[in-house]
């Protein structure tokens, strides 16, 4: 699936059929400059990594269509339009979960992280790193066929990371697939809404179109769980847990792939050695706080009320950064007092 894709995006010839020709000329000119400049093969630089948009490696010369990191975007180019982006993206990018983690600590998108996320219309936080330019398809294909070999001949091409690449499902559908938007990604600070508005968006339940939140009494009690900085939301059925501890454990497992990135700053190796207890530290420590939105639209800290009361009133959950949870505790106390 991805090989034809590489053809499409890496081949400059396709781009030349585009309208915006200045992009192409600038692209090719920059590419040749980059080629000139890069002498030796720099493995680290050419390592394909994933990260938030814009988190590219230092040496990557700007412009030249090494652009907006969203791959899924250009997938839908029915009109043959393609953003400069994918021209340079080397996908040999069938990466397994572990490879999708960027050691630099950024949270990364995992195509395999336990949920089916298609690269549809949604914004997925992808960025090819160290892509200096695209030389030739042939070179590229070599790279893809031998993931581990970083032959010196491959000047500018991005071989996948030397780690064993587990071929999981392709992370990009073919160019002409119209992929239905599945769980889309959430980007930090986007849409540009001030945080004071976030909490006032407690839409009157009577008017709420979204029915499957917080339905109580029936067989299941699905609530959405979001985490600050994570690309997409999850849903959990509160009825399947009997206590806060169970819920907490389940959430930790579910969001572990996102918090791994955060461990980087704690000196824990990004991939290995991440234990549950470390995660619990993260979740229970100052980094993250588990909060929920109750029936009244207020955000409260999880754990203050008896479990049954919690499942009755919880409409959605949010794992938020400790710094954002200021002021929640006092309200929770006040509410409890009012209820009792």
């Amino acid at each position: 699936m991805s090989r034809p894709l590489e053809h499409d995006y890496i081949g400059l010839s396709e781009v030349s059929s585009m309208e915006s020709s200045e992009k192409i000329s600038s692209a090719s000119s920059t590419v040749s400059t980059e080629e000139e400049k890069s002498n030796a093969l720099n493995l680290k630089e050419t390592e394909l990594r994933l990260g938030l948009p814009g988190s590219e490696s230092p040496e990557r010369k700007s412009g030249a269509g090494v652009g907006v990191s969203l791959l899924g975007r250009t997938v839908e180019d029915k009109n043959g339009y393609s953003l400069g982006v994918l021209k340079n993206f080397v996908s040999g990018a069938k990466r397994g979960f572990s490879d999708a983690i960027d050691v630099s600590g950024k949270w990364v998108f995992s195509g395999n992280g336990g949920s089916e996320v298609d690269m549809g219309k949604g914004a997925v936080l992808f960025s090819p790193r160290g892509v200096n330019g695209v030389k030739s398809l042939g070179v590229l294909e070599n790279a893809n066929q031998q993931p581990g070999s970083a032959a010196p001949a491959l000047k500018d091409v991005v071989p996948p990371s030397p780690k064993p690449v587990q071929d999981k499902k392709p992370q990009m559908p073919a160019a002409n697939d119209h992929v239905a938007p599945a769980a889309k990604a959430q980007v930090v600070g986007w849409p540009p809404i001030r945080s004071f508005r976030k909490n006032t968006m407690a839409v009157n339940p009577a008017k709420n179109n979204d029915d499957d939140e917080g339905k109580s009494g029936s067989a299941c009690l699905y609530v959405k769980v979001s985490m600050d900085g994570a690309p997409y939301l999850r849903k959990v059925d509160l009825k399947t847990y009997g206590s806060y501890k169970e819920l907490s454990a389940a959430l930790e497992k579910m969001f572990s792939c996102f918090t791994i990135g955060q461990c980087g700053s704690h000196g824990v190796p990004g991939r290995d050695g991440l234990s549950e207890s470390r995660l619990m530290d993260l979740l229970h420590g100052s980094e993250y706080v588990l909060t929920y939105e109750d029936k009244d639209g207020d955000w409260m800290l999880v754990g203050d009320v008896p479990w049954e009361m919690f499942t009755d009133s919880c409409r959605r959950l949010r794992i938020m950064k400790g710094s954002e949870a200021i002021g929640l505790a006092p309200r929770a106390m006040e509410k409890c007092k009012n209820r009792n």
């Binding site: 915006s20 992009k23 600038s26 692209a27 948009p53 814009g54 988190s55 590219e56 490696s57 230092p58 040496e59 700007s62 412009g63 030249a64 269509g65 652009g67 907006v68 990191s69 969203l70 975007r73 839908e76 029915k78 009109n79 339009y81 953003l83 400069g84 630099s104 600590g105 950024k106 219309k121 949604g122 938007p181 769980a183 889309k184 990604a185 959430q186 980007v187 930090v188 600070g189 986007w190 849409p191 540009p192 809404i193 945080s195 004071f196 976030k198 006032t200 968006m201 839409v203 009157n204 008017k207 179109n209 979204d210 979001s226 990135g261 980087g264 200021i326 002021g327 006092p330 309200r331």
Partner: protein, 584 residues
Amino acid sequence: MDSKRRKDSPEEEKKRQVLPFPDEILECVLGFVKSHKDRSSVSLVCKDWYTAERWSRTHVFIGNCYSVSPEILVRRFPNIRSVTLKGKPRFSDFNLVPPNWGADIHAWLVVFASAYPFLEELRLKRMTVTDESLEFLAKSFPNFKALSLVSCDGFSTDGFKVIATHCKNLTELDISENGIDDAGGSWLSCFPDNFTSLEVLNFASLNSKVNFDALERLVVRCKSLKVLKVNKNVTLEQLQRLLVQSPQLTELGTGSFSQELTLEQYSDLENAFSNCKTLHTLSGLSEATSLNLHLICPACTNLTFLNLSDAALQGAELAKLLPNCPLIRRLWVMDTVEDKGLEAVGFSCPLLEELRVYPAEPFELDAILGGVTELGFVAVSRGCPKLHYVLYFCRRMTNAAVATVVKNCPDFTHFRLCIMNPWEPDYLTKEPVDEAFGAVVKTCPKLQRLAVSGLLTDLTFEYIGKYAKNLETLSVAFAGSSDRGMQYVLGGCPKLRKLEIRDCPFGNAALLTGLERYESMRSLWMSACHVTMNGCRQLAREMPRLNVEVIKEDGSDENHADKVYVYRSVAGPRRDAPPFVLTL
């Protein structure tokens, strides 16, 4: 209280005889010049005018607190009574700036305490203010009258206790949209019983309950109260009691509007609202039910600004409400009103100049239903030819619709369109939305502020650079294909002052194209782009009068410049930068 000036030497006296009239008169005349832009122009005419202007200026506006130091400020302007300061880059509103970045007011207050002991007004936006600073403020300036804090942080409601207790001449306390520690509402009870000067009180964004009796007594004794915006904890029933005591209000922000009322309570409220004849601004109305919404109608006749962005109204409710507000010029709504609601706006608000549509569920990525679309936008433009300010959050848009909108309303000065899913194309043609923004800049010569979104190539920026001659502020996110995009803008847009960019494929080449431009701009922000530390260092080297700052994030690549903030400054590099801000 003007300080005395030193006596002029005989040579200077002679020089002055050339002037048609003495400085005192010049100063008096200049006293009528209020706008800070005009005052800047005045100060550039000649030395004497510069001198006259600086002695007569009483209000100063500083758009970037790091562009000048308090010492330089007080040296130039000796007689300031009112200071407006803005601190952090605007993207800090969306959590893109780490906490403890700076913009602390305290250093300024210390200098002001000695240079401007008669300071009356302080208006801060995106600054860090601690409770200690608030206490210092309250105790250092006996004449202090007006405090306005918008989008600030670092303080708690405890800080207001000291303000309320010590500022005997306080006329204005305006607290909006701040990220603060809510330590309870007891601050309101700290206003002394003999305190009557309050004219503006806005605590709508605070979460904790204030003592209602204290509030009521305050409203009763402050007969000059013109602006009252309470928070959600004030019930409708309580609001009624406040309203009957203050029929002279011009701006009202209600508390919660969801209470179930008895017939008598309802009738009392109707009467109370009928008495508010001078109301021109109304906001709050949180969780308003259809029934209760009807209560405000009698007060709407002279309304020019209606802020419904906290009230998740449905289209039909808005349609019923608007005919009662024929004079509406500014309208803020939530997208729960949908296109039907916007059609009603087009129908009922012929004088509309500003429209803001906020999303009810901005982070609901799967929400394809609900909200407003290009149809609502066009509907408003058809009925509101005077529309010149729009902030529109939507999930789909078309090039054709935007072209139609600007054709109907060519006077746009502020066009902020936010298509919420990044890289979203024209939903009908699947093309980029370049032509939409092209139409905006081509058709609206007065455009000052533009925010773009959706799937955009460099072509958009080519249009912007070429046509947007009056553009001062440009916000860009997830757009562009290459350096050329940013280069187009920097090569055009002669009046550009603020450029903020996130998640775009612009790198060092683009950054360095603007070498000559940045000194004539207030600031540049670039985050999650392709700029490297080397590029930033080069910029810093070549332009020593710019402050080039990089915010480094934990664990990011050491060569990558995650967040870049460039601004001109006469104060030199920051001395208070935290460790994660690197000044190059």
